[in-house]
Assembly symmetry: none
Homo-oligomer: 230 residues x 2
DNA sequence: CCTATACTTCGATGGGCAACGAACTGTTTG
DNA sequence: CAAACAGTTCGTTGCCCATCGAAGTATAGG
């Protein structure tokens, strides 16, 4: 028996769900709330849609804390959506009003209490490159070298070790789809940057704004390649 | 400004319409009544669906006397439907118990205008093994050797080269999950086999039936291993 | 003309389902 | 602990649209 394409197609054929899928076409993993916002629907409705999409194996989900990160299940799904995109554009259908994501939000923002966005990912890569942190299968740890480095910066590493919260934790970045640094050390780094006025929080937003001086100090402090920092 | 895939997808995502589209995947032009019968709906309902499909440029229609013949608008539509077929089968939608007609459909069938199923895959593998075609990362091309071979068979390769449509294209086979040959060459091979009466189309179905003589001629012509051909 | 056939239009019906408010579980933070 | 937040479940509402009966238009053949 031939597979029934109407099942999958009708899943894609709902406006809210197609907007969710389009948002995920970037390959990035997004949370349920972000997708609800993207599709301009309530969280309940999004939850319903997302469970359908996961149930039909169009999406996969990864739970992280109280967040759920959704992604396209595989390359084949992305390719099929791409075909539909091409077809839709050649057949000349209407255009969608796509809310352009805030470029500042993409650049650097706060993720609970630590730095995310391009900046956060650059920091993570720099620390990894200098072997301040090491990546095992899933977990990351602060290396001896890293421990010395941060002690010199004034971090009470021993105090952090006593805490229940892990010092280093990798957190999936939704705009970059790469890891950035969470955990108590990630929190410290952001707080430190804010305290030194390298950066400031923008009101009513998750955006973090670095000053010109802040960028140069921050990149020098953690040996971040200037190129990876816009 | 992205095109909105939900419009097209919801058109395909209706059970009756998807059955109509599947029936047209045979490449044949069918009348409204035939399509209504195929989808098991009334003539009025079919008329409604067909006007929508034509209105969105998924189908084209040709009026002939008091009949209207419907066809898929172009290859792109056929290819997109094939992608959806593949996706539906790999996502493991419910497979229904196989009826008697199913083995034939799996064995050889028409995929818009070229050969698919076990036969189509065997042909593809044979051509690849003899280096008539070569597979690059994604695309496939007709080799010099293949060009000579098909010119001897009477294919106007130079003419095909002028066409907008690619000569060789790999098309993922939903039942075999391997590639078979599409493109203008794939079309020629099927037409040639039908013209030489090695095979015939079954009425009201996508099944291609090879005669006993047809199998031996076909396998000899393209050096297909008899074992790969049930 | 008349009849048969092919297809369309109109109107009414009904079912499926997207949407959301309210209330719930589970996680993080202070 | 309480409060804030992420996500879910449930029940209700409303509407879109597939469906078909009935009637209308168009073509073909006597």
């Amino acid at each position: 028996m031939e597979p029934d394409i109407s099942v999958i197609s009708s899943l894609i054929g709902d406006r809210a769900r197609s907007r969710i899928l389009m948002a995920l076409m970037s390959g990035k993993a997004l949370t349920a709330t972000e997708l609800a916002c993207e599709a301009e629907i309530s969280a309940q409705t999004a939850s319903n849609h997302l469970s359908k999409l996961v149930g039909s194996n169009l999406l996969v989900v990864r739970k992280q804390g109280r967040h759920k990160y959704f992604q396209l299940a595989n390359h084949q799904v992305a390719e099929t959506l791409e075909m539909l995109l091409n077809l839709s554009s050649t057949l000349g259908s209407q255009k969608i009003t796509t809310g352009p994501a805030d470029p500042d939000l993409k650049k650097s923002r706060i993720c609970y209490d630590h730095l995310a966005g391009v900046t956060g990912v650059a920091l993570y890569d720099a620390l990894l490159g200098q072997e301040m942190i090491s990546e095992n299968s899933q977990n990351i740890t602060l290396t001896e070298r890293g421990e010395l480095f941060f002690q010199k910066k004034g971090v009470a590493v021993d105090e952090l070790k006593k805490g229940k919260r892990p010092i280093c934790k990798s957190c999936l970045d939704w705009s970059e789809r790469k890891s950035h640094l969470a955990g108590s050390l990630g929190q410290w780094i952001l707080e430190d940057a804010l305290a030194k006025q390298w950066a400031s929080r923008r009101l009513d937003s998750r955006v973090i704004t670095f000053s010109k001086r802040g960028v140069s100090q921050f990149t020098r402090c953690y040996q971040i390649e200037p190129g990876s920092f816009l």
